[in-house]
Symmetry: C2
């Protein structure tokens, strides 16, 4: 069988399973999630054995240490996968929720009911735990899933998929509710992202290369997160202590995450007063500073021991370093900060540090990003921190879902109309 | 200048205008809407003169009477356009609304703010009133608009666009908030629907051909309404009187609208009792019935004078007649009705007539359409009837917006985070 017909077969099966899932009761979905978790724990040895095969192949192929790290399962990560599924089981079921049911002048009641999207395609790279995680989120939100993991994780993913299937069957749901693509052929992705009849949305999870490729070729809608160039703007009415704490946390708590700050903007009025202290703190963390001429001038005057100061180029304002590097720019004030963020930012997460009520209010309204913050670290942009319980990813798009996407982002709303023989006049 | 650079220029201007509009105050947008309405009334003679030029060309080109009808402006339609803009001014501003602002365990407050999508491209056919209507809805929702009407309406659209611009300028907003494409070159559409950097969403309004073409070629997300094959299912626990009233209204109130019923499903248990009465009523309205064998058998026995009974083919179950024709099928019961609707329907609007609580509940949950109704006519599926105030169209998609799309459907939500120096631990 060729890849195209194989994928269409998966698509058909997913479409049929989606219909069953859409009307499945909450307790049945939760039972499946709990059974999946139990199967993963029970089969921990098999998962480790399958993972060992992938790791062996990865080493033989000379894959990078970082990639091998992401690929590796341990007893701890296996326990975390099971725990993640149990947590999803505990979340409220979004499906079927009716909101805003109101009487209209015609006498009908009109409201909205939350419903699954249908079939979700997830395309991801090395991390095998995404298999369990994505399966759980799709299931709970009533969607059938077609999962396409990285070819380097194929044995691990298939072993996890077997546990997922066991859980579904134990709860009396079709095993086809979650299907893992079992071919490493790249054409499978091409087919998955273009077969509109069978797939309602694609969620790519991985590096920028993957996401750009998927977005360029997809004919199915994509919920995507391209990159994160997050800003902290220190206003001239910032509390210096909060500025220090927030910049430190936003930049240095973790360097590799998409909600890490990559650019610091500081108002001219406080640049001389605050920038040296900020730079000292960042230098202690080993952060290199890519400075605009004004920032460079101030920091050279400050003569900070060990400071790594590099002149910023135009490219620095758009860069997602994912590393101990921070772009630093002195701006005139709020207006210039907003303009800079809306021009160079990635519409991910941006924060202002200010005690000024009116400026906070303007920043929230005028910065066009999926998360806008006042006096809080950009690192908070996260499904768990926002109370979504779990996230399938972060969207930097505007259509359908923005920011952290949880169960609700995997659903839609239909209209419900209740009458008693009402007709339109 | 070639079409591509012309469109890119419109796109750039729209992007810049969108930034201004996103932060415009409600009263400024409302002032612009009111000024547009006044300009349209003031310039009624010019609009009629421009329209006369289009009509002359249309007649010379031998366009159909239906098309010429849609193209024609009158004093009445001009007054309705102005009134429509004033009504949009009265609607609450969706932009900036913050909902669900809650404290999280970390101490931050997290909520969502409604924001414009950015730049909206509207592609439509003969009706020039869409120019005013779409401009008004985009403006109120804080979006810049690029409008591409039918080439046959080009003079009318430009005359309306001049009034729109006058209104924007009177309120101190950039005239580029609403731009009308001034070339009849078809390549303009191709460029509009693929320039992702400048356009956030496309709303095609028109016939199925237009919508299919736009959807097939678009690289920008499309909010679309493909077709409406709406069903009324008369359950065996239906109130006969309500069934009669609802079927009559859903089928015969207007034949050409997308929320008109095109298929009648009736439970076997009541088919003999109710179908003849329904057929008599429909025959009085001159509706032809495309019957399944069982329905045909019952109706032939009933011997209804003047009844036009035609055996249904498989194609009839999917057809959108937009005419006095109704497909009629006897089904086993609720389960078969839901299965039929989910298989042949267009996910537009479907209604059940029943007094049975449990079946009503199942129908609402399990029918996968943008509007699902109990004991109400499908004709209610409409932005005004649902209380949206106005609609830009009806979406049969699941992503972003389903069913009637009003101002809210032209917006998105970003996350707002309020802290007081909070950092993530």
């Amino acid at each position: 069988m060729n890849v195209e017909s194989y994928m269409i077969e998966l698509g058909r099966a997913a479409r049929a399973a989606a219909r069953v899932l859409a009307r499945a009761e909450t307790r049945q979905k939760d039972a499946a999630l709990t059974a999946m978790a139990a199967a993963i724990e029970r089969q921990a040895d098999r998962l480790l054995a399958a993972n060992a095969r992938d790791l062996e192949a990865a080493q033989a192929a000379g894959l990078s240490a970082a990639l091998i790290d992401r690929l590796t399962l341990s007893e701890k990560t296996i326990a975390a996968m099971a725990e993640g599924l149990r947590q999803i089981a505990q979340l409220p079921d979004p499906v079927g929720e009716i909101t805003d049911l109101k009487y209209r002048p015609s006498g009908i009641q009109v409201g909205r009911m939350r419903v699954p999207l249908g079939v979700i395609g997830i395309i991801y790279e090395a991390r095998p735990n995404v298999t369990a995680d994505a399966a759980g989120l799709c299931l709970k939100s009533g969607n059938a899933a077609i999962l396409r993991g990285g070819s380097e994780a194929i044995h691990s993913n298939q072993a996890i998929a077997a546990c997922v299937r066991a859980g579904l069957e134990a709860a009396g749901l079709p095993a086809t509710c979650v299907q893992v693509v079992e071919t490493a052929d790249r054409a499978a992705v091409g087919q998955l992202i273009t077969m509109k009849e069978y797939v309602d949305v694609i969620v790519p999870r991985g590096g920028k290369g993957l996401i750009e490729r998927v977005t360029a070729e997809a004919r199915v809608p994509v919920i995507k997160h391209l990159h994160g160039n997050c800003h902290v703007y220190v206003d001239d009415r910032a509390d210096p202590d909060k500025a220090l704490r927030i910049v430190e946390n936003a930049k240095t708590q973790r360097y590799g995450t998409c909600n890490t700050a990559e650019s610091l903007l500081i108002a001219r009025g406080v640049a001389e007063a605050l920038l040296p202290g900020l730079a000292r703190m960042l230098t202690r963390h080993g952060v290199e500073l890519r400075c605009c001429p004004q920032a460079m001038h101030i920091l050279q005057q400050a003569d900070i021991p060990g400071a790594r100061l590099v002149p910023a180029t135009e490219a620095d304002w758009s860069e997602e370093y994912l590393a101990p590097i921070l772009a630093v720019k002195v701006v005139e004030g709020l207006e210039a900060a907003i303009e800079h963020i809306n021009t160079y930012g990635s519409q991910h997460t941006d924060a202002i540090v200010t005690e000024d009520y009116g400026r906070a209010r303007r920043f929230l309204r005028e910065v066009d990003s999926s998360s806008v913050m006042v006096n809080a670290s950009t690192r908070f942009a996260d499904g768990f921190e926002y109370g979504l319980g779990a996230e399938i990813g972060i969207s930097t798009d505007k259509i359908h879902a923005r920011g952290p996407v949880g169960l609700e982002g995997l659903t839609s709303q239909k209209w419900v109309v209740l009458g008693d023989g009402h007709v339109r006049v």
